[in-house]
């Protein structure tokens, strides 16, 4: 299947209740916990932080009820949460944790180590900013970790959270890369909606047990893991990592397709809505703002929507394929729910990087920071900006 097919084939119309699923109303955080159970994770570490906490609470509760055969250990910090996952993953278990904001930032050192030890760890991050105190939706925490080497997916719905966690383990274990599944605080983590929960045997078909490789602890063949690597070898490991990271976009598409065949829900690295030769403006979004934008563009036949689901590594190929479908003078408007102390937000930076050398008109919007709501009226206001005028600034702040 081509990238373009995968971009367009998502969310086929008229999907009824898929077979081998049960339907429940649940919050994004609960969907994450369900996905961890369905993925047959065996070791979970936990440390509370709003708004992630209900994920680890639900997991602890499922284990206590006997519905989930796993160990959950209450650690004393997020640094230890991730460091313990390192140990258990190295011994061969399938592991999970969830965190938010300060917790993720506190674990920063360990995130690097996990990635460069090539450990297949999946973690959910429910995004919130750093300081001064704020607990609401913002992607600054996870995006500031984009250079740790973790793959990052941003989810739009509870269903997508559940499906993405399952896909993440498969991708993670295939490529030896850790994956971060990102949820918007409250808009996704604490909002209830319909979720189709696959039967366990269906999940097992898609995600078999973790295959143990020579990169794990084998007591019969003792080795040292993580010892000093001198300059003659260090970049060899970097290069192997580079090769793996280059496979992520294609694997995401391939896996999304395979997932679609089994579960009836297709995924790609990006998703394009209403992008065709008549499209004059494209809104580029991530996570829950996408849902709002979907409604708004229904009233604007010349406005398309590009949802970035795989953010790291940035899916350049898929993005270029989408823009091929649009009018060549099309204006690109990136909505960034992150502020990392730079002129433009991270999404705009990545888009500029992907489009380097192309004569495109590209704008950035800071919106929804620190949890500020982004209702349809905000999207409408963005679309009222006169992007055609040469006087229009490149970056806008929208309340």
């Amino acid at each position: 299947m081509t990238t373009t097919e995968s971009i367009l084939k998502q969310n086929p119309p008229g999907a009824g209740i898929p077979s081998r699923h049960s339907k429940k109303v649940m919050k994004g955080n609960i969907a994450a916990a369900e996905a961890v159970r369905l993925s047959r994770v065996s070791f979970v570490t936990a440390y509370p932080i709003t708004p992630q906490t209900t994920i680890i609470e639900e997991i602890a509760s499922m284990i206590a009820r006997g519905d989930f055969d796993a160990i959950s250990v209450n650690m004393e910090s997020e640094h230890s949460v991730f460091a313990a996952l390192m140990g258990a993953s190295l011994v061969g278990e399938r592991v999970f944790t969830a965190t938010s904001g300060q917790g993720l930032l506190y674990a920063h050192e360990v995130l690097h180590a996990i990635a460069h030890m090539r450990l297949p760890i999946v973690a959910c991050n429910v995004g919130r900013p750093s300081f001064p105190w704020n607990i609401w939706a913002d992607q600054s925490d996870s995006i500031s970790q984009r250079d740790t080497g973790w793959v990052q997916y941003y989810c739009e719905s509870s269903q997508e959270v559940l499906d993405t966690v399952l896909q993440s383990y498969k991708l993670s274990e295939k490529l030896g890369l850790p994956v971060m599944v990102v949820l918007d605080a409250f808009y996704l983590s604490h909002t209830s909606e319909n979720v189709y929960i696959p039967d366990q045997d269906l999940a097992d078909t898609f995600l078999p047990a973790r295959r143990i490789t020579e990169n794990q602890v084998d007591l019969n063949h003792p080795k040292a893991f993580g010892g000093l690597v001198d300059p003659s070898l260090y970049d060899t490991y970097n290069r192997q990592y580079w090769d793996a990271i280059h496979q992520v976009e294609d694997e995401t598409i391939e896996m999304g397709h395979e997932f679609g065949e089994l579960f009836g829900r297709e995924y790609g690295a990006v998703e394009a809505v209403n992008i065709h030769s008549g499209t004059k403006r494209i809104l580029v979004t991530m996570a829950t703002i996408t849902t709002t934008a979907r409604q708004v563009i229904e009233h604007h036949p010349d406005v398309g929507l590009l949802k970035i689901r795989l953010f790291k590594p940035f899916p350049k190929k898929s993005v270029l394929d989408v823009l091929e479908m649009a009018d060549e003078d099309c204006i690109i408007i990136n909505i960034d729910r992150n502020f990392l102390g730079d002129h433009e937000g991270a999404l705009m930076q990545e888009m500029k990087r992907a489009l380097y050398g192309k004569p495109v008109k590209i704008f950035g919007i800071y919106a929804g920071l620190g949890g500020r709501d982004v209702p349809p009226e905000t999207i409408e206001r963005i679309l009222k900006i006169n992007f055609e005028s040469p006087q229009t600034e490149e970056v806008h702040w929208i309340k």
Binding site: E76, S80, V81, S89, P222, A224, G227
Partner: protein, 305 residues
């Protein structure tokens, strides 16, 4: 070196569980410790090593000094990574495989204390061994909170003004099944403690005195003699607590002034100079008080039985 003491030092190693070629400095305590620990624990052991001298000594990638598995981890994370290793092994039915942390004093007293406390409070089934050479030696002799008062380091060039943290007190407050101090000069005692620690379950802790010629500024050939003097002068007392039951495992027969231990080491040189005030007297007083507290505790506990 003053009077030579001859405590029982029979620790026969019938089978080496480390390879040759350790990258330690001459006279370092780490390699000896690795030999003794690995002999007692056996080859089917997982060692977790945070940043410390031993992360270098045990060999660069892909080498491994130990015949067991070595998991290197981050400075602050030894007890946390060991927690993950432990649970994963348990999950795989390998409850009998020992998980042993080998850490320095910086990674134990300072940056790793939070993870250590967490694992100890959870009762993780781990043996944590701290080789206490009383400063950040791997980075070039900077003070840790394990550095005793009066010691000259590169970050306390005039001598450290505060006493070492009472780590054993902190660790013991977690209600451990076993904790002890040990010395590379008292091998029978060390062997007995390692065996007790191996036999016990839950979180166990041993702190061993770590000779360090480049850091303590002495000749490498007197490392073990100095370690012996540290115990005989009561500067580094040997004791253990089994399920909270305390006992001194070596009570020196004679009183030896602590200056006998200190005078051979450049790290204390400024205390012996002409300009020195009453630094030595202060340290002797501190050592005497510490010893008296331990004696009182031993007498109190024995009186209760």
């Amino acid at each position: 070196m003053g009077k030579t003491m001859s405590p029982a030092s029979k620790f026969l190693i019938n089978e080496e569980n480390i390879y040759s070629g350790a990258l330690s400095c001459r006279g370092c305590g780490w390699t000896l410790l690795a030999r003794y620990v690995s002999y007692v624990m056996g080859p089917e052991t997982v060692y977790v090593v945070p940043a410390c001298c031993f992360s270098i000594i045990s060999g660069p990638n892909p080498m491994n000094l130990m015949k067991g598995t070595v998991v290197h981890t981050l400075f602050a994370a030894a007890a946390a990574t060991a927690t993950g290793v432990r649970h994963a092994l348990d999950r795989q039915g390998k409850q009998d495989t020992p998980v042993v942390v080998l850490a320095g004093d910086g990674g134990t007293f300072d940056i790793g204390l939070q993870a250590l406390s967490g694992a100890a409070a959870r009762g993780e089934n781990i043996l944590y061994i701290c080789n206490n050479n009383a400063a950040y030696m791997n980075t070039g002799v900077q003070s840790s909170t394990g550095t005793p008062k009066g010691v000259k380091t590169t970050t306390d060039p005039a001598g450290k003004k505060t006493a070492a943290k009472n780590l054993m007190g902190i660790v013991e407050a977690h209600n451990l099944s076993y904790c002890a101090t040990a010395s590379p000069a008292f091998l029978t005692d060390l062997q007995a403690k390692l065996e007790k620690a191996k036999k016990a379950s839950g979180f166990r802790f041993i702190m061993i005195d770590g000779p360090c010629p480049p850091g303590h500024k002495h000749d490498p050939d007197i490392s073990i003699q100095l370690a012996r003097l540290a115990v005989e002068t009561r500067y580094f007392p040997l004791f253990e607590a089994e399920n909270g039951r305390f006992s001194l495992t070596h009570v020196p027969e004679e009183t030896v002034a602590v200056s006998e231990y200190m005078k051979h080491q450049g790290r204390f040189a400024q205390l012996f100079s002409d300009e020195a005030t009453n630094g030595l007297t202060d340290i002797q007083k501190q050592v005497d008080e510490q010893w008296q507290k331990l004696l009182d505790r031993q007498q109190y506990e024995n009186a209760g039985t």
